[in-house]
Symmetry: C2
Subunit: 153 residues, 2 copies
């Protein structure tokens, strides 16, 4: 990964979650939610680990952040290793997260345009580590990946 | 509730979930997902019960339906007592649910237009039982309700 500063640190934390998911035999997508310079929720996709269709990485981060006030979400930034799908983008919109940092959007392009159209700042980092991990996973388990995005091979 | 047939039966099942949530001290929104005339997942909002910001009624129904093939979702109908928010609408879009039956949209109007713009059939039943239960809850616990839709009083 390139870059420096807090943004780099938090994207590395999201990537560490993705790697943990991969190591567990799951789908390697990770996310952290940051407020006032602190991670308040972190998570990774748990489709395999918990048999869950709703625990995408971002959703798991929301869940682990727990119940928060609207004023906290409004000041928070969500980091995710992969461009957020419709469900995760919907959660971002519901809670009024205003800034989303995306590791990469080449292996999957989510609802970035919808987010932007609602005033969310979306920054894509084109991170090669995030992309390479996803590419490896998709090559290894294409059916699992398709299931996660509502597709069927 | 008015109407008859399967639609009525499934909306009553969603309402029973909402009522269960209310009786538990939670937010009274319920949902069922139906495939081939059978309920494959049912759920209700669990913000209070599980301290969860992601288990809206529809999300809980998806979770309880478990991992499904895209071909199942494509033939499924989601029933919800209340117009689906951005997060739940996003899940509907992710999984390609093509038909959504909504109890009421007067106490809260969700992302019905977004769903329709993506080709989802949205039918609002203007059900007085769903509406009355939500109105009672909102009057009793306005702060909790606002938290659930990402607002702050």
């Amino acid at each position: 990964m390139s870059g420096s500063s807090d943004t780099e640190q938090f994207m590395q934390a999201a990537f560490a979650e993705a790697q943990k998911g991969y190591d567990e035999g799951g789908i390697p997508i990770g996310s952290v939610i940051v407020h006032n310079g602190q991670i308040i929720g972190r998570g990774h996709n748990r489709r395999v680990q918990q048999g869950s269709p709703i625990l995408h990485g971002e959703m798991d981060a929301f869940e682990n952040a727990g119940r928060q006030k609207a004023s906290v979400y409004a000041q928070a930034t969500l980091y995710t290793t992969l461009s957020p799908c419709a469900m995760c983008s919907g959660a971002i919109l519901l809670y009024g997260i205003k800034r989303v940092i995306v590791g990469e959007n080449q292996t999957f392009l989510g609802e970035e345009e919808l987010l932007k159209s609602r005033g969310v700042s979306v920054e894509v980092r084109h991170d090669s580590a995030c992309r390479d991990l996803m590419r490896r996973f998709i090559a290894e388990k294409p059916e699992l990946w398709n299931e996660d995005i509502g597709q069927e091979l």
